[in-house]
Assembly symmetry: C2
Homo-oligomer: 161 residues x 2
DNA sequence: TATTGTTATACTCTATAACTATA
DNA sequence: TATAGTTATAGAGTATAACAATA
């Protein structure tokens, strides 16, 4: 995700997108493409670019040492197999490491590495800034409003109170 | 996209997602996963499931006979090569057909088929309903608010007035 | 018997670049 | 020289199901 959608051809100015005009899922899905591409550009070369989940995983492991993969998987809406590959990747990049849980030897505990912690510092700067920059044309109060509503949606989807 | 994220493990109720808590792009990207999976389930077997773009393409071709691929590509944030494959697929499914433009023989014009028009009827019912159902817990006035703001974002991104 | 995480596979989407044919 | 669309390819993400180890 990093290629802009090509230069504006002659798009009729009065084009109407039918029922999608009032469909929230359409805007979520379409804006997702644009914002994800932009984010990938900003993160270029940083080992957390591409796809959803690496950034959240890095921050959660940094904030909650020993957190379990299945907990993160749930919060980023991935299944365990996708989560496993995400962790493989991040481990290979030296960002996090796994340990077997002493309490339950089926389970794992995740810990941040020095490189991971350093990257987390960068990510905490870049990621919120990218979002603000990308949506700069939405006034701050409106942005806050949308965030509040979508936060509730997110928490409901993953079952947080 | 159709597999739910696995049953809630023991996720601490007070977990905090760091800077992402206030980052619009995070919510757009994460909710996109959930709503897209749900939409795919609702569209199962309908030839427009999976990925972004088929639905918009179908409706635009139905509404604007002779519309050109590059115009749609621009509106759905794809490049021409991705658009081409999308059209291949939809043509194979008998939903649309291509013609060479009489005015400019480099360009194509897209037209809906009978099957495509019939599917468009179904899609106009299912897609907005899926969105409303999925976000049922967001009060209508708030949903309207979010849609208005994201519509402006979308139009700005693709350069519509 | 249920759970945690792994592996394997097939499919799709994405990004890129090189190509043609027309203009 | 620029544009519309095509083709080819490499890389990632996604969905599934089957599996091992442990509880």
């Amino acid at each position: 995700m990093s290629k802009p959608p090509a230069k504006p051809p002659t798009v009729p100015e009065d084009i109407n997108i039918d029922v999608l005009e009032d469909t929230l899922s359409f805007y979520i899905r379409t804006i997702n493409l644009a914002v994800s591409r932009d984010l990938d550009e900003r993160l270029e070369g940083l080992d957390v670019a591409k796809g959803t989940g690496k950034i959240t995983t890095l921050l959660l492991v940094d904030d909650y040492p020993g957190i379990r993969p299945s907990v993160i998987a749930h919060l980023i809406l991935k299944d365990r197999s996708a989560m496993g590959r995400l962790i493989d990747q991040m481990e290979q990049h030296g960002l996090i490491r796994r340990e077997v849980s002493p309490e339950d030897s089926r389970a794992q505990e995740l810990y941040i590495t020095e490189a991971g912690a350093a990257l987390a510092v960068k990510v905490r700067e870049i990621v919120p800034k990218q979002s603000r920059d990308f949506f700069f044309f939405i006034p701050e109060d409106e942005q806050k409003l949308v965030i509040d509503i979508l936060r509730r949606a997110y928490r409901r989807i993953v079952g947080l109170p």
